[in-house]
């Protein structure tokens, strides 16, 4: 008895809500009718979410800003008063060519990795829509495993693969493939090959997310459109480029935005690879460089603020675009 009316109830509710939003006259009496607690209520519900956000995210951010204008190190932690130094920390950092090198490397690494991840991810997602059930499930399970393995466990495996003495990669190259020069080759010691290894790992670890998101997006493309395009003589390539991908553009934008942000602040992979024997100073990216400053909180704070600005600058294009699409 009670089951049938249940689905019926939301149905009328849905059309009831839009009118207040479009018609301002309807909204006014509605608001007046509701007592104060009812109006405040929804906002109160936000408090449990906002408080941890403010404490967990806002507080460190404020401290980071404050630190960046102070001289604050270990001694200050033990009670020595912190001195205000104005923009000194920023000036020191930004007048150091090494810091600019780190920034340039980070941006290049981030863009290359984000682009590669997107390209591979989209390709695999399209592949998933084309292959049979068994192949698709195999792909999905593989992706989930790559996605689900803890970062440090993954890093240990990759580190072993590329180990110069006992690594599988060198063993395969030197043994079965007969490239004797690869025996004992140090992959991490040259910055370029270090970043190549890092790129393989970073991309490998973030491709599953792109694949699943884009695949979900592709499933939303109506079959009728595709069929119609096919009838009009569009090749499958054209259907993908001209129809499917443009239709899921909002999804692609969001994923690309996340990738750029993630790859700019990549830390664990680089840090672990550095510890595996790379020349530390030549391989710092923003994340590991800030960490290396961590005993000098003020410097680290200034550098983290600079990184925040870079992140915003890199993503401003996407964010503006997203906002515009939201309005439309």
């Amino acid at each position: 008895m009670s089951a049938p009316p249940a689905p019926a109830a939301p149905a009328p509710a849905a059309p009831r809500t839009p009118p207040p939003a479009t018609g301002s006259t309807a909204a006014a009496p509605l608001r007046r009718r509701r007592p104060l607690p009812a109006r405040v209520g929804p906002y109160l519900l936000l408090v449990p979410a906002l408080v941890p956000l403010a404490v967990g995210l806002g507080y460190p951010l404020v401290r980071q800003f404050v630190f960046s204008f102070q001289e604050y190190g270990l001694a200050q932690q033990f009670g020595r008063p912190a001195e205000w130094v104005g923009l000194d920390n920023y000036v020191t950092l930004l007048s150091d060519p090494y810091v600019w090198g780190v920034i340039a490397r980070s941006i290049a690494f981030c863009l290359v990795n984000a682009a590669l991840t997107m390209a591979l991810g989209i390709a695999l997602a399209v592949l998933m829509t084309k292959v049979g059930r068994a192949a698709r499930i195999t792909l999905q399970v593989g992706m989930l495993l790559a996605w689900g393995t803890p970062v440090l466990a993954t890093m240990t495996v990759w580190q072993w693969l590329f180990d110069s003495q006992y690594g599988v990669v060198n063993w395969v190259l030197a043994g079965p493939l007969g490239m004797e020069g690869q025996r004992g080759h140090s992959w991490l010691i040259e910055p370029l090959s270090f970043y190549a290894v890092a790129t393989v790992i970073v991309v490998w670890m973030s491709v599953p997310f792109v694949v699943f998101t884009v695949y979900a997006g592709l499933l939303q493309v109506p079959d009728e459109c595709m069929e119609a395009a096919q009838l009009d003589g569009a090749s499958s390539w054209q259907r993908l480029w001209r129809l499917a991908l443009p239709m899921i553009k909002p999804v692609l934008f969001v994923v690309a935005l996340l990738q750029v942000i993630w790859d700019l602040r990549v830390f664990t992979q680089i840090h672990v690879l550095q510890r595996a024997g790379a020349p530390t100073r030549e391989t710092h990216l923003l994340g590991t460089y800030i960490y290396s400053l961590s005993k000098e909180f003020s410097m680290a704070g200034a550098m983290a603020t600079i990184m925040l600005v870079i992140t915003l600058a890199l993503t401003v294009f996407y964010i503006r675009r997203m906002l515009r699409e939201d309005e439309a």
Binding site: P150, Q165, R183, T280
Partner: protein, 447 residues
């Protein structure tokens, strides 16, 4: 994974203990530091080097002297010790009452004001018999903040059979050591594809620095309160040139490896010699001696087999202190070890001082030595025994050197400047060029 999980648990346990310790700390503060009040004293030991027997001794002795107080010993992992101390020592409610800290990490915390002044205890704790390098690392402006707990020195392990096959003898001077390593490298008696006469990985500055010290070189020097990198000095350069010669002619160790687990290559027959703290003897596991005992087998038979295996390994392995420039001298190798200090924020200053007295008592110092650790008070070092390992350890420890006692030395290690330097030298960069660059970085970091 296991380590991650246990350290998580440890952190949780520490956190909970910290909560319960709040009460104890305040009690002591109320009593005005009288020292005789009850409460809980917390001692942080780093790593597992202090055997259980010694821990029990500390607890029993302390509680016998202070019937209404308890001693809690908490073990901290060496990994990530500095950030943990950075947060714990700054908080009155969370600070332990006595901490062990790495000798190279000690100056950073003493300069920051993390420890209490214990200058008045210097004579009582051992005076000039204390390991002086470690005392320096715990001293700022003639005020003593941390004292040596124990030290471990590096010695060279070698495979006797490989030595015999290559027809070489234990070297007696540093120059001869290079020759021996080169001869072994060329002879390659085991036939391994990448064989090392002397296992010297590219980032291993802990061992490499002995060559620098032997020639009178330094990592950094202080003048009028200003530190400067000293790797470019003629003495340091002489040492670094010899290190480069070893890298190019006497080792096949990877340039991207560090000083960790040097015995792996040795056990695999891929290295004739390696240098490590003397407790590396327990990690040697030659295939010829291995009895195939499962790691989790705790039966009596397994223990007997393991003892047999250990004896076999020690019979086939020799050990000697790295020789110095002159015949009969010993090279100043890098000393590993730790200091111990009383956190300034601890509310149990008097009790902590009492525990420090127990640690520097003849009984405890002797016990340290009996367990293979060179005690902070060298007067008791004789108890190390007289087997080859003890002899090598003692010979090496006499002149062992520490890193410069500069306030920000931990930052130099954090930035891995020396790892980078040695790696460059291993890669064939001119030592003068590499050293000049590293000197600049060290000077910038220390000031």
């Amino acid at each position: 994974m296991k380590r991650v999980r246990t350290s998580g648990l440890a952190a949780l346990a520490v956190g909970m203990l910290a909560l319960t310790a709040c009460g104890g700390g305040e009690d002591a503060a109320d009593s005005g530091g009288g020292g005789e009040s009850g409460g809980e004293l917390r001692l942080w030991l780093a790593g597992s080097d202090t055997p259980q027997e010694l821990r029990d001794h500390l607890v029993e002795t302390f509680e016998a002297e202070h019937p209404d107080a308890t001693l809690v010993i908490e073990e901290q992992d060496w990994n990530g010790l500095v950030p943990r101390l950075q947060t714990a020592l700054t908080s009155e409610s969370q600070t332990p009452d006595l901490v062990e800290i790495g000798n190279t990490q000690s100056p950073t915390f003493t300069y920051a004001g993390a420890f209490s002044d214990i200058s008045d205890m210097y004579e009582e704790l051992g005076g000039d018999d204390l390991l002086q390098g470690f005392v320096d690392a715990g001293t700022v402006d003639d005020t003593l903040y941390a004292v040596p707990y124990y030290s471990g020195a590096r010695a060279v392990f070698y495979n006797k059979e490989v030595f015999a096959a290559a027809g070489v003898e234990v070297p007696t001077t540093l120059a001869e050591f290079t020759e021996v390593a080169q001869t072994l490298q060329q002879a390659n008696p085991t036939g391994a594809p990448s064989f090392s006469g002397f296992w010297l990985p590219g980032q291993d500055w802990y061992n490499g620095v002995a060559w620098l010290n032997s020639h009178g070189g330094e990592l950094a020097v202080e003048e009028d309160g200003e530190w400067t990198g000293a790797l470019s000095s003629p003495e340091s350069q002489e040492g670094l040139a010899e290190v480069q010669e070893l890298f190019t002619t006497a080792t096949s160790a990877p340039r991207d490896a560090d000083s960790n687990e040097p015995w792996i290559a040795f056990n695999n027959g891929e290295a004739a010699m390696f240098s490590a703290p003397t407790w590396a003897r327990w990690s040697i596991d030659l295939p010829a001696c291995n009895k195939g005992v499962a790691a989790d087998d705790e039966s009596e038979a397994a223990k007997a087999l393991l003892a047999e295996q250990q004896a076999c390994n020690e019979e086939k392995t020799g050990i000697f202190a790295l020789p110095g420039l002159e015949e009969g001298s010993v090279a100043p190798v890098f000393a590993g070890g730790s200091n111990i200090g009383i956190p300034a924020k601890s509310g149990n200053q008097e009790l902590a001082r009492d525990l420090l007295r127990i640690i520097f008592s003849p009984e405890y110092q002797t016990m340290l030595a009996e367990n293979g650790l060179i005690p902070g008070n060298t007067e008791y070092a004789d108890a190390l025994g007289d087997d080859v390992y003890a002899q090598a350890a003692l010979a090496a420890a006499v002149d062992a050197e520490l890193t410069p006692p500069a306030e920000k030395w931990a930052d130099v290690e954090g930035a891995r400047i020396l790892e980078d330097l040695f790696q460059e030298i291993a890669s064939g960069t001119d030592p003068a060029t590499a050293a000049a660059e590293a000197d600049q970085l060290i000077t910038d970091t220390l000031n």
